[in-house]
């Protein structure tokens, strides 16, 4: 018999599990039925036996026109939901012609400065028939409103729109770094979005509470779900404090996790997360609507586990990671392209990533039965163990005063960075095997030509902005921005004056700057 191994969360994995490991384990309490409390086995009764998960590939680069072409191609290849990547200036609320945007325009996603770019981005894509996920956080309200405005132009009512905005600014402070405003006004904006969507865009997922980026920054599986669910609790508290009934907004909350190559612990993680969230919503917040207790989530395969060395090997890693997400009961999945550690995906690598999901969905038998690992000695034991570890970490955050108070003390970031450093040292020493990197290397790597973004895009976007500013009614823009600033100083919902400003063709950067003047910006106490 081999030795006891340690899992990514630092928990023991025994060489053998048996009935004795589940002696006091009650299936009725721990599992329940699929589609019923505590949702360990999945949020829907039939899961993939009815239809597979949504295959949602994150894509976008360069100009709106180029990204539009990529989306149309993905739809033609069978993708079932769009996922928009914005460039960093857009994500940080800067226009393409801002000094700080220099060199970044169109690089990691599409540049959207105004309604005019958004119109091009969704040209000939019927917004009543696709669901669109937008990875946008601090300026999430703006991009959602631009989407709504474009839909209105297409003749599509807001009540027909489906999709998700990431809108999870707390994890930006912890891991991803694209924050703008301090926590307090940021949380107010989140509550305003919940309220606005309830009234205007009822089928929209108002937030995607994300552990993915924490995992990419180094969080263990237990840390990932603990910190994410603690963020979720903070959002629910904020909305309740703003006067909303928990069952009025909680059904539209969604989550976003990573899938690593350590398949067993990942399956356990997803199952544990569902169980914790259901309990928190029912016990702590008194939710009555079952939909408020269901942890619905998107998964992306772990980009950080992909290697620049022998990049084709990443196809295999992604297949294993994707399988973990499916066995864990994900609602939608992005599989990374094999060239992720080198550059943005090419057309071919993006297609192969989607094909990987199609093989899982249509060639394997894992979709034939719900929650295939239920009752497995090891997976049930690990589900309990990950749950216990996560609940302990959540209690620590609670003791610190909740997620925001813990963020302000740097608690989560510090925990994650220590884990990242440990992983780096284990990889250096060879204790942690990374195929092609510290074992089975090639003497000479084959050359690889990645996709490149045309640097001329920055100048093109600047020209578009100059034309926009010359043609629009500037006094209407100024008036709308002043009205928005006034609202930001009061308590009215900000999305209505924001929509007026965007309709008058104010830019994303202008709207964010108007709010920066009122709210200031977040400056972390950053150490290492």
């Amino acid at each position: 018999m081999g030795e006891v191994r340690t899992s990514e969360s630092g928990l023991p994995i025994e060489p053998l599990y048996g009935p004795q490991d589940l002696e006091s384990w009650e299936p009725a309490e721990k599992l329940g039925e699929p589609g019923a409390y505590p949702y360990t086995r999945g949020v829907y009764r039939s899961m993939y036996t009815g239809r597979p998960w949504t295959m949602r590939q994150y894509a976008g680069f360069g100009t709106a026109a180029e990204s539009n072409a990529r989306y149309r191609q993905l739809i033609a290849h069978g993708t079932t939901g769009l996922s928009v990547a914005f460039d960093l200036p857009t994500q940080m609320g800067h226009d393409s012609d801002a000094a700080i945007a220099h060199g970044e325009v169109g690089k990691v996603g599409v540049a959207i400065d105004s309604i005019e770019d958004m119109r091009v981005l969704f040209d000939s894509i019927p917004l009543d028939r696709v669901s669109t996920s937008m990875t946008i956080n601090a300026p999430a309200a703006l991009l959602l409103l631009l989407y709504q405005l474009v839909a209105e132009e297409q003749g599509v009512g807001a009540d027909q729109l489906t999709g998700t905005i990431q809108n999870d600014v707390l994890k930006e402070y912890i891991a991803r770094g694209t924050y703008i405003f301090p926590p307090k006004p940021s949380l107010r904006l989140v509550a305003d979005i919940f309220q606005y969507c309830r009234a205007e865009i009822p089928k929209w997922n108002t937030i995607s509470i994300s552990g993915y980026h924490m995992a990419e920054a180094g969080a263990s599986p237990a840390q990932e779900i603990a910190f994410t669910l603690a963020d979720g609790i903070e959002y629910v508290r904020t909305a309740v404090a703003a006067g909303m009934d928990v069952d009025d907004f909680a059904p539209r909350l969604s989550f976003f996790f990573v899938a690593r190559t350590t398949l067993l612990e990942e399956v356990a993680k997803f199952r544990a997360a569902r169980r914790i969230w259901a309990r928190v919503m029912r016990e702590e917040f008194g939710a009555v609507n079952p939909k408020s207790m269901m942890l619905r989530f998107h998964t992306q395969t772990a980009g950080v586990q992909l290697t620049a060395q022998q990049p084709e090997v990443n196809l295999v890693r992604v297949a294993v990671q994707g399988l973990a997400a499916v066995l864990g009961g994900t609602q939608s999945l992005h599989t990374n392209s094999f060239d992720e550690a080198i550059a943005l995906p090419t057309d071919k690598s993006a297609r192969l990533a989607l094909r990987t999901q199609q093989v899982l969905a249509y060639e394997t038998d894992v979709t034939a039965t719900v929650d295939p690992f239920a009752g497995s000695y090891v997976v049930e034991k690990m589900t309990d163990d990950v749950e216990t570890a996560a609940v302990e970490l959540m209690a620590k955050i609670q003791d610190l005063g909740g997620a925001v108070a813990a963020i302000e003390r740097g608690f989560q970031k510090d925990e994650i960075e220590r884990n990242a450093y440990r992983i780096a040292l284990e990889t250096d020493s060879g204790e942690r095997v990374v195929v092609g990197v510290n074992r089975y290397q090639l003497d000479e790597e084959e050359p690889y030509e990645p996709l490149r973004v045309d640097p001329a895009i920055e100048a093109q976007q600047a020209e578009r902005l100059a034309r926009l500013r010359a043609r629009r009614d500037q006094s209407a823009v100024d008036e709308a921005l002043t009205a928005l600033q006034k609202a930001a100083q009061g308590a009215d919902n900000l999305l209505y004056p924001m929509k007026d400003a965007l309709r008058a063709r104010a830019t994303v950067g202008e709207v964010c700057n108007a709010l920066r003047e009122i709210w200031g910006t977040y400056v972390p106490g950053d150490t290492y």
Binding site: H102, G103, R176, T178, E417, Y421, P447, P524
Partner: protein, 140 residues
Amino acid sequence: MPTETSAVPIRVVVAKPGLDGHDRGAKVIARALRDAGVEVIYTGLHQTPRQIVDTAIQEDVDAIGLSVLSGAHMTLFADVLRLLGEEGAEDITVFGGGIIPEADIDALHRMGVAALFTPGTPTHVVTEWVRDSMRVSGRA
């Protein structure tokens, strides 16, 4: 072992230029350099090339390590090198890391970037390079 390294520690600014928020690599390298006895000043996120160069000069460092994963490396490395030149601070070595395609690495070397470390590089390779090249430069 040369004794001068312990007498006058090497000082390095580790910086995240531009809007990229991915700081895992920067933080791991900052910790590894610190554990190797290097004095590290970490700038935090969202620094302009001007801010980074000003910090490097004020802190009297031997080198600047830039981490870029957003694809903006050609612009950001060039701006830092240009500003160092304008300030007469060419003696500060510039190195870096991130997601940087092979072809750009050659161009960046020609531009004056002393070394680039891409994903998969063991941390000791970076720390040893910093110690060795700073010793050669005569500062340490």
